[in-house]
Symmetry: D4
Subunit: 234 residues, 8 copies
Amino acid sequence: NFANIDHHRTLRTGFPEVIWGQGKTTNQIAQIIEVMRSRSVSERESRNPVVMATRIEPEVYSELQLKIPDLKYYASARICALVPPQLEPQYHGTISIISAGTADLPVAEEAAITAELCGFGVKRLWDVGVAGIHRLLSNRHVLTEANVLIVVAGMEGALASVVAGLADCPVIAVPTSIGYGASFGGLAPLLTMLNSCAAGVGVVNIDNGFGAAILAGQILRTADKLSNSGFKQD
Amino acid sequence: NFANIDHHRTLRTGFPEVIWGQGKTTNQIAQIIEVMRSRSVSERESRNPVVMATRIEPEVYSELQLKIPDLKYYASARICALVPPQLEPQYHGTISIISAGTADLPVAEEAAITAELCGFGVKRLWDVGVAGIHRLLSNRHVLTEANVLIVVAGMEGALASVVAGLADCPVIAVPTSIGYGASFGGLAPLLTMLNSCAAGVGVVNIDNGFGAAILAGQILRTADKLSNSGFKQD
Amino acid sequence: NFANIDHHRTLRTGFPEVIWGQGKTTNQIAQIIEVMRSRSVSERESRNPVVMATRIEPEVYSELQLKIPDLKYYASARICALVPPQLEPQYHGTISIISAGTADLPVAEEAAITAELCGFGVKRLWDVGVAGIHRLLSNRHVLTEANVLIVVAGMEGALASVVAGLADCPVIAVPTSIGYGASFGGLAPLLTMLNSCAAGVGVVNIDNGFGAAILAGQILRTADKLSNSGFKQD
Amino acid sequence: NFANIDHHRTLRTGFPEVIWGQGKTTNQIAQIIEVMRSRSVSERESRNPVVMATRIEPEVYSELQLKIPDLKYYASARICALVPPQLEPQYHGTISIISAGTADLPVAEEAAITAELCGFGVKRLWDVGVAGIHRLLSNRHVLTEANVLIVVAGMEGALASVVAGLADCPVIAVPTSIGYGASFGGLAPLLTMLNSCAAGVGVVNIDNGFGAAILAGQILRTADKLSNSGFKQD
Amino acid sequence: NFANIDHHRTLRTGFPEVIWGQGKTTNQIAQIIEVMRSRSVSERESRNPVVMATRIEPEVYSELQLKIPDLKYYASARICALVPPQLEPQYHGTISIISAGTADLPVAEEAAITAELCGFGVKRLWDVGVAGIHRLLSNRHVLTEANVLIVVAGMEGALASVVAGLADCPVIAVPTSIGYGASFGGLAPLLTMLNSCAAGVGVVNIDNGFGAAILAGQILRTADKLSNSGFKQD
Amino acid sequence: NFANIDHHRTLRTGFPEVIWGQGKTTNQIAQIIEVMRSRSVSERESRNPVVMATRIEPEVYSELQLKIPDLKYYASARICALVPPQLEPQYHGTISIISAGTADLPVAEEAAITAELCGFGVKRLWDVGVAGIHRLLSNRHVLTEANVLIVVAGMEGALASVVAGLADCPVIAVPTSIGYGASFGGLAPLLTMLNSCAAGVGVVNIDNGFGAAILAGQILRTADKLSNSGFKQD
Amino acid sequence: NFANIDHHRTLRTGFPEVIWGQGKTTNQIAQIIEVMRSRSVSERESRNPVVMATRIEPEVYSELQLKIPDLKYYASARICALVPPQLEPQYHGTISIISAGTADLPVAEEAAITAELCGFGVKRLWDVGVAGIHRLLSNRHVLTEANVLIVVAGMEGALASVVAGLADCPVIAVPTSIGYGASFGGLAPLLTMLNSCAAGVGVVNIDNGFGAAILAGQILRTADKLSNSGFKQD
Amino acid sequence: NFANIDHHRTLRTGFPEVIWGQGKTTNQIAQIIEVMRSRSVSERESRNPVVMATRIEPEVYSELQLKIPDLKYYASARICALVPPQLEPQYHGTISIISAGTADLPVAEEAAITAELCGFGVKRLWDVGVAGIHRLLSNRHVLTEANVLIVVAGMEGALASVVAGLADCPVIAVPTSIGYGASFGGLAPLLTMLNSCAAGVGVVNIDNGFGAAILAGQILRTADKLSNSGFKQD
Ligand SMILES: Nc1ncnc2c1ncn2[C@@H]1O[C@H](COP(=O)(O)O)[C@@H](O)[C@H]1O
Ligand SMILES: Nc1ncnc2c1ncn2[C@@H]1O[C@H](COP(=O)(O)O)[C@@H](O)[C@H]1O
Ligand SMILES: Nc1ncnc2c1ncn2[C@@H]1O[C@H](COP(=O)(O)O)[C@@H](O)[C@H]1O
Ligand SMILES: Nc1ncnc2c1ncn2[C@@H]1O[C@H](COP(=O)(O)O)[C@@H](O)[C@H]1O
Ligand SMILES: [Mg+2]
Ligand SMILES: [Mg+2]
Ligand SMILES: [Mg+2]
Ligand SMILES: [Mg+2]
Ligand SMILES: [Mg+2]
Ligand SMILES: [Mg+2]
Ligand SMILES: [Mg+2]
Ligand SMILES: [Mg+2]
């Protein structure tokens, strides 16, 4: 059969398998969603009950919706999901997501919606690239209040280094394919972020807002677990 | 003047500036160490009092030692440091570092020593690459007990994906330049780690054990801070 | 004339020329198929009598079918062929094909259908990528029972190394172009597979399921020939 | 500890772990050799009892020899090994190794010596590149008599395609870093071999004679196993 | 103004400016053709009177034909031209063009038609790639009778080296973008041809059949000129 | 003969030919210096009378000095020159040179010394990379007072974008090869600078401090010329 | 909100924020234009009052025009703008723009229109590539009269070096993506321009006519400022 | 055995096998030279009797000379050869070799010496790069008098296009690895030459002066053959 769903993933890693919509037929996606829904019932009790798919184009969603009427679509993030009635942060802390330009929005929203669907609190700060650095500096409270930062930037991706030089928390950098010419499909900001002169930056794949959200979530879960295991007592 | 030391870095980001030994003359390194020592006295009260330099070859250390007799050298990590009398973990949690092969040791030790010098508890698991995957699977407790994982691997770097598929905490991946031919100086494991099919992997530069340690440390500091700000109370 | 068909290829190498559909007009493909059919009659007695073409899009097949009504189409593999009435394995041994994700299916099926059309027994195991490695480990019998393994994987392609570390037979690795960003059209899994820390992996071109099947078939033919030449007697 | 030797590898895959000399200190290599010797005694009964290391420069061997007097050195292959008293082929069939130029010799010999140490019969044909293709064509018996072919070529690596178009057995291609300029360290023959218009070519890493030998050996072992499992009876 | 036609090019180099159709609007192409026609009248007396454009898609030609009814189209070569009534070879010698596969036809025809329109005699040999090398070897007379050879090949491009090892005349190699995966848009055959182990190969850009024809023509013109300057007399 | 000195370059472009020391023998350099000295006498009256060579290693200078005793060496810039008795700025305006890290010094000094030897006023600001951006922000007067800015940065090269977003004058960016791993010899900062989200940045080759100085000088000369041609009068 | 307009950019850098049309929805572009119009009223007194967007395809402009009737479109430059009634040069000096081929026109016009809209005088010289170098040499007055030169070239981009060897003013080079095959989307002319053997060339991103114009404008503004600050008096 | 000398190469292609010194031991080179000498006696009657080796470093020559006293060394070309007593042009026509900079000399001399040893007349024009294009233009007679042109250039390699736009004969372009940074070991001039906007340029590998000479020689031989076959008579 075409899919071998990893039903234990939440148990092992804290996060369920998420369907990667690209390269799958609409039929395959619909079937996987329904299988995951039926299996996730018992997991509903636990955290992260969401069934979701990324990289869903509007046309694909239109077809999916016919088969799964309660499937919700987040257009700017190209994500669809079976969303539980109440969707509230279930972990402590805030993931602040900062993007460099308006065109980086779809990737930044992929990160934001993924994080929210997985039970995390998110703060957004869009279009504060270094060409006008006062836009970042006048929002330093966003950096200060964050527990994890996700920086989304295309073109040269310099925003990640600047943020990491100012931040007192982990920084996750997402290069985007926004740009042209010597951007080479996002290679330029990818290399920028990997070579950041400010340390403490973890980089994910070009346009991978989803992966950044999972890593950020993993970080907040770690805090929760460390705390629950009672380290405050010593 | 040749150096403009960033004395506020600990205040801003929680970690002091660390001297990057590569591309600097021995004289420059020695002078910067002494300036940082004189300035870090007041910071000694706070955490992270270490003055350290990475990428120090043995010959360079020999010369430095003549000028700074109390400078300590960690040969396998190519790090030298002014080490405070007692060096004990000052943060909760454990950073577990896993390496794929014996030749990855210098990078893995760079991560380990950096983390230890910065006040974090470290657990090491060396030479457990996927060619003999039972070496990893029979050590699953290392994964389970970790609060953050650093995976160091050269050649094809597949270890990072396997670990991330099993881990219930953030995974930081460090590609190394160990390999030859189509490894292209570490490009192969770098791309592997960026494209990991298991989500939640943050990648740092090729051979950048130092950066991985800082990011891991930043993650544990976040847990401490979240915990201290009292989130256990709710 | 536009084509110079290599009618001796089966004699020289054991496998007939296979039409590469990409970059040819429908007319050219149809004419080559008919010429090959007329010539392959005499070869029908011998093994491998198939006339087939790879990389045939559905639209192209629709046109071809009008001209060649008995041409069969394997949609998921994008292969069309003149299939002999009975298609049964004609060589000993099994080619097991393992794929990492659902989206790798077309390439994995290209390998499977090619092998079957050429007279080999095939076993399929789909969607067992390393993000959930238990899916592979709980199917170790597929590895154990295989005489040749084909591993098809996109994204970071780590599955090939893991399989090769467990397999007691030759492993052929097929990187796919499934992925995005720093996958660079399949470069990432290609480099992964070439740098495999587990030895004994032969790599073919990105998305080249066809070539993997021919190599696997060549391996089983070698076994047959060695055996027929009587080495069991010594 | 620095090494985690994979003592089960022969059991799992048919071939023992082989020490990769590059990137290890002489001390590390010597210690690993001795540990492997002590463990392989019991395995001596079974096939493949060799303890060997690749990528050993003459200077390294000089030092190793002082510590391990019975260690043998194959200079042209840069391999050292503890060789059992009688080293005879233990599997049926022949691995024929063909190289394009004189400068490809070290890689071709790495393949040849590895195969011989692992118990396979080897035939060598050196310096028959396509610039003078009669050198290959007048040796077609080498191709005809082979059960597996290894083609070693640098510069443009065209020899692999030509051989694969003539061979009635599996072809393993090894690109070498021999060349200059637009060879880009072996990238040119690597791409050539991956794009071979003759199908059935499995490619290994640049300069990886060792890996080619293991894959070739795996192929002959498969023939043996298939034959032993009695398929001749039907 | 948008175009600055190089009316002296025939005088300087022996060949007129040829319009590169790609990236120009249909209007621009039509206007340039008419200006060149009006200027080339006086040059008609001399050789090479052709006015031609390359890289003209069928749709573009349809529009051009409405404006310039006597414009002729060579569909397989994507060339359109104002062709003089009699088009016969005006130089001694033969340009033999050899292609590796059926899919290389458009590039090979671009070379052939360009050469014929410029006044050279052309011989074609299509689809004789090295996967079935007898197709080339049984046509060695084509090599022997050529005064210049153009070899057009995609995939791995090995044909160029094989031909150059057999040819007693200059060889011009044209890599094509035919292929997929690690062909990287023709990079693979380009590197192959640049690294040819057979010397005496001049390489042109990927898919540049036009440039190959001009270089071949320049070579035959040189022979004519040398001969006319009387070197036979000494 | 081996060199064909371009004695008219000052007349044509305002700057004399400068000897590129790399790839030349010491003898060749010495001879070219002496020829240029003899020819530049008459030019001494005009501006830019300097005879200089870049990329001169200390060992080469030691040999040169034996032959040309009045040759001066600027060690940190790897430049040697015949320096006129008084070396004072001969053009209006200031070239401010900003570098990101201590290791970028040789390139930054190549720019500074070249500019000074060519008659321009230079201001230096070293080691103000974005990891500690206050070092730049607290020196904003350097940006404000500059008429041209040269930004020298390795690693990820983000400094150029930040400066360009703040500067009211042309910015020239020089990527350096300082870094490792995914810096790929300076490719990372090169791409960063080319993709700068702040407009108005002109990029020169990796490590090309010399070229940046010439471009900066050309800009100040333009101002002088425009001013001298009387545009103040309108 | 999706956009964070940098209203201070003219104050800081002399040029307003310009809307990058690529990757934005038509709605986003329209809204940003209207916000900028409302804010730029006060700035109208000062120079550069233009509100403009680059990379606007004709279809996008058609939609924009419905919402903003007074928006003007420069089709060949793919720029739309709110143009002030009188658009005359407001700075001294001339920006001469030279292009190599007809197909480079859109990029060259992007530079020209940007410069004109920002208040600079522009001279155009199109289609004078080095294949017919007399077209450039017979227009040397364009070089002589320029205060800044912008050279736009695709294919191999050699024009930039030739111009820089002749020019007595700063040269800005714009590689274009015009070409095919080994042009690799403009990589070829980009590398050409970065490696120019004639010094004093500043390079911008592939196809970045806009950035070249801003840099050229910045250079002329510098001249104005230097002149206004009275340097003529000394 | 290590070498399989291609004794028929002169018969097949007009040029003997030439020893590529790189990657061979001194012993191997010496033995091959002596074997070729013994075999070439009979060929001495025919043209091209030379036995030669390229890429011979001075140290290697010193050792070779001890074994083969009559071996001659061309230091600037890194070529050694057994030179016949009289070495005079044996073919009509002239190969003119043009180089861009002083540092390109070794490659240019490799071309020149190879051509001379093979019996061709050579004219040299060194250091006429496009930074000072009058150096080329004032030597146009070298272009006019040439029957074949070889253009050797590093850095950006623009000289090839300029020459090809002026030349009335075939142009062979040799990119060199002279340069730094974004030259990427000669990739920059290689791409330049492949994308030349002037048609009729055949490119050889980076630093391959030898291959350029063979191709040039092949062109002059073609002229001779065409002429000898009597085409003047028609
Ligand atoms: N946008 C995304 N980017 C990267 N990985 C993803 C994304 N969405 C889902 N995934 C992961 O991709 C894998 C899906 O592989 P497949 O079997 O092809 O569906 C799962 O393990 C997901 O966790
Ligand atoms: N999917 C495929 N990938 C790679 N090679 C193929 C494929 N299908 C057929 N071929 C080979 O491509 C060659 C066809 O070249 P052509 O002359 O263009 O048809 C044949 O030699 C086939 O063996
Ligand atoms: N197919 C082609 N490939 C490469 N160059 C060409 C081709 N067709 C024409 N050319 C050349 O491209 C140049 C045209 O540049 P343009 O000014 O853009 O027309 C001319 O110098 C032609 O000689
Ligand atoms: N550091 C440098 N980087 C780039 N070009 C340089 C440098 N120094 C000198 N040049 C230029 O390189 C050319 C010298 O080429 P050559 O004939 O090899 O000496 C001259 O045109 C110089 O203007
Ligand atoms: Mg914005
Ligand atoms: Mg190991
Ligand atoms: Mg799956
Ligand atoms: Mg040889
Ligand atoms: Mg064919
Ligand atoms: Mg610093
Ligand atoms: Mg033109
Ligand atoms: Mg010079």
